[in-house]
Amino acid sequence: MGALLLVWATPHPAEAARYVIEIKNMAFGPAPQHLKVGDTILWRNDDMFRHTATAKPGFDLDLAPGAQGEVTLKNPGTLKVICRYHPNMTVQLAVEKE
């Protein structure tokens, strides 16, 4: 009988994912699901107006029309992101631990 070779697949941490949130028509695009610490979000302003993607504490990206900026999610929890110029623009990000 040949030797059985058993290979155990060791669990390894999922690679950090990268998401894009588009800003258009005075609104943030939908929050990605299953965000984890270490994931990055690219905020892209496809609107005709200057906007910010601001989370206090956290990050504050000031984006002219056409500009984009990237943030890495460092902490678990719920992040409320607003545009400082148009505070009714908001999106909530739920970030899970790694």
Partner: protein
Amino acid sequence: MLTRLTFAALLLMPAAALAQAQKPNDAQIAHIAYTAGVLDVTAGKQALEKSTNPDVKAFASEMVRDHQAVNEKALALVKKLNVTPQDNPTSQALTKAAAAKVAELGKLSGAAFDRAYVENEVAYHKTVNGALKDTLIPNAQNAELKSLLQTGLSLFTAHQQHAEHLSMSLAK
């Protein structure tokens, strides 16, 4: 149903023009929307000159920047559609009222100016929002114009909220 904006304009109009004003055509709608933006840019520039309050200046910068952005799109659209914006009693009434307000605000300074400027911005945005919802958007024939007006409404609504928050904080 007449909005306050249309009502104000009607007071200044001869009877012959009355019937027409209730259903503006696209050329008139474009003129009204563009004028509303230009007037807010002018008011914002006055505030940038006169105010020393950083929150008021930030708000005024936003007015100037955002209205210039949407007006740029409006100009590009009318050029593409080969429409010449048509002056009309509503635009004239808005312009006249805005000029009077600039003169009135010109006599104020400091916190008094700030409060008066922001209060007027709240009232102005409420009026224009009403006109967009009740008259300009429903009567717009061209789909692209209608879409741009809807963007204008989202913008004016955000501006109104910002002005209201600012007004509350200045009242303290």
